[in-house]
């Protein structure tokens, strides 16, 4: 069975500090991977997607970056956090992007102070 694991579960970070959020998918070869973000009271927004290892497309510019170093791993990061980065980050996978259903991870709650 496919599993999707996100870490950490929650973080409190200082403005200007670096951030790295991880996501791994087990049991599925070459999935499409996604990062979503929801600000408090806001709507879920897609940040990045990746079709294959080493390839990441940015959807929304939020001074964040993403990388896919392995087929089953997707990393979201920044060198300098902003207050506006606070929110809930979700990783997701799908078989294809066009008409496949998405499965979401358990999320990471980030508070930047």
């Amino acid at each position: 069975a496919q599993t999707i694991h996100q870490w950490p579960v929650a973080e409190i970070k200082a403005v200007g500090s670096p951030l790295s959020l991880g996501c791994t998918i087990k049991g599925k070869s070459s999935p499409n991977l996604y990062w979503y973000w929801q600000a408090t009271g806001g709507t879920l927004q897609q940040l990045f997607y990746s079709i294959t290892v080493g390839q990441v497309e940015s959807v929304v510019q939020l001074n964040l970056s993403a990388s896919r170093p392995k087929d089953d791993q997707f990393i979201l990061s920044t060198e300098k956090l902003l207050l506006s980065h606070s929110g809930f980050y979700l990783c997701a996978w799908s078989l294809t992007g066009r008409s496949s259903d998405y499965t979401f991870g358990s999320g990471t709650r980030l508070l930047v102070i």
Partner: protein, 109 residues
């Protein structure tokens, strides 16, 4: 861009009653998913539809791509159904799932 308009934003039901949530799309969508937010804030898949209807227990969903809408019907609501429900749809824009703003459902005794 693609937009998803979800309604109502909030809904209160008495136990045993039912209602429907609706999402209207500004463009033709290929598929729709309905999610429920769990206690941690993550999203639990309820339905995935590329067309037609699906039913699971007391929930039933329909998707009409041509008419650009989808619905989620809840019948015989129970207290544990309370929570926030989201629809999300994928269009011709490859690799993008656009979310509605959510419906906060409260089921009361």
């Amino acid at each position: 861009g693609d937009q998803v308009e979800q309604s109502p934003s909030a809904l209160s039901l008495h136990e045993g009653t039912g209602s429907a949530l609706r999402c209207n799309f500004t463009t033709t969508m290929r598929a729709v998913q309905w999610f429920r937010k769990n206690s941690r804030g993550s999203l639990i898949n309820l339905f995935y539809l590329a067309s037609g209807t699906k039913e699971n227990g007391r929930l039933k969903s329909a998707f009409d791509s041509k008419e650009r809408y989808s619905t989620l019907h809840i019948r015989d609501a129970q207290l544990e159904d309370s929570g926030t429900y989201f629809c999300a749809a994928s269009s011709g824009s490859f690799n993008k799932l656009t979310f509605g703003a959510g419906t906060r459902l409260a089921v009361c005794p």
